[in-house]
Subunit: 158 residues, 2 copies
C-alpha cells in the first residue's frame, strides 16, 4: 500500500501526465494516445493506485465560488517535543486548514488556511486555534493574490 520502491517507466509517466492534467480522461482515450489496448491501461492505472503512486483523484474547485476568498499562511510556534505531532494533528483536524507542514528552524508549523474573509479568519483562530494549548504564538501572512496554485508535479519527460 505504501511501496515507494516502484519503478515507473515511460508509459507510467505518460499516464500520470495525462491523469494529472485531467483526472477524468477515460481509459479509451489514454489507450488511443499511447497506442495500447484499454485493458493494458486499466492494469497500469490500477497498479499505480494500488502502489500509492496515485493518491487521489480530486476536483479543483474555485474558492471564490464557495466564498472562500481569503488565503492565509500562518506560522505557528508550538511546545511539542520532537516527534510529538499532537499540535500538527490538532491543526490538521480543522477543516479550513488545508495544509500543515512541520518546518525546520522555528520548532513550529506552517499552516495554509482558507476562509471567507479576515473576520472569519479571526474567528477561526479564536475558536479553533485557541483550543490547542501547545501553541505558543502565531504569525499570519495574508495572500493578496495567487499567481499560481498547482499541486501538480514535474513528471520526467521521454
Amino acid at each position: 500500500m505504501d511501496e515507494i520502491t516502484y519503478n515507473l517507466d515511460q508509459v507510467d509517466y505518460h499516464i500520470l501526465r495525462l491523469m494529472q492534467e485531467n483526472a477524468r480522461i477515460n481509459n479509451a482515450d489514454i489507450a488511443r494516445e499511447l497506442g495500447m489496448a484499454p485493458s493494458a491501461i486499466l492494469e497500469r492505472v490500477k497498479k499505480l493506485e494500488q502502489k500509492s503512486v496515485i493518491l487521489q483523484y480530486t476536483a479543483k474547485i474555485n474558492p471564490a465560488a464557495l466564498d472562500q476568498k481569503l488565503l492565509s499562511f500562518i506560522i505557528i510556534r508550538a511546545a511539542d517535543g520532537i516527534g510529538c505531532a499532537t499540535t500538527g494533528e490538532a491543526l490538521a483536524a480543522i477543516p479550513e486548514v488545508q495544509e500543515v507542514h512541520d518546518i525546520a528552524g522555528d520548532d513550529g508549523y506552517l499552516v495554509k488556511v482558507r476562509t471567507a474573509d479576515s473576520a472569519a479568519l479571526v474567528e477561526l483562530m479564536r475558536n479553533s486555534f485557541a483550543k490547542i494549548p501547545s501553541i505558543i504564538s502565531t504569525r499570519t501572512t495574508i495572500v493578496l493574490e495567487t499567481v499560481k496554485e498547482q499541486q501538480q508535479l514535474v513528471i520526467p519527460a521521454p
Copy 2:
C-alpha cells in the same frame, strides 16, 4: 467563463463534495446517490465546469514516487511596482514552483517548491531564480514533514 455570481444549491454542493473526494466517480453513481437521472447530473456538472466552479480534475501523485522528496517554502522580496506582476509570472513559469502567492507586508511572494533534495533546490535557485533580476532576496524554509496537504475546500453542509 469566469462567472463568480453563480448560485449553487444543495445538489451542486453534493456533487462538488463527491467530485472533490473522488473526481473519477461516474455520473451514474452520482445520480444514484442523489436520486436523480444521470442526464440531469451531466447537465449540472457541465454547468459547474462551464461556470468555472470546477476548475480542473487532477490526479494527486505521490511526490516520493517521483523522487521529489523535498518541499520548501521560499519568501521572495522583489522590486516590482504595485500591480506589476512580472516577478510573480517569472516564478510561476518555473515547473518546480507549485505555488506563487503575492503576500502582504513584505512586498514579496511566498513560493512553494518541490525538488528531489536540497542539492536540487540549490541548483534550482542558482539556475532559475537567479535569472529573475527583480528578486532582491530570498528566505527558504524547509519542510521536515507534511502532516496534511489537501487543497480541498470546505463545502457547506445541508
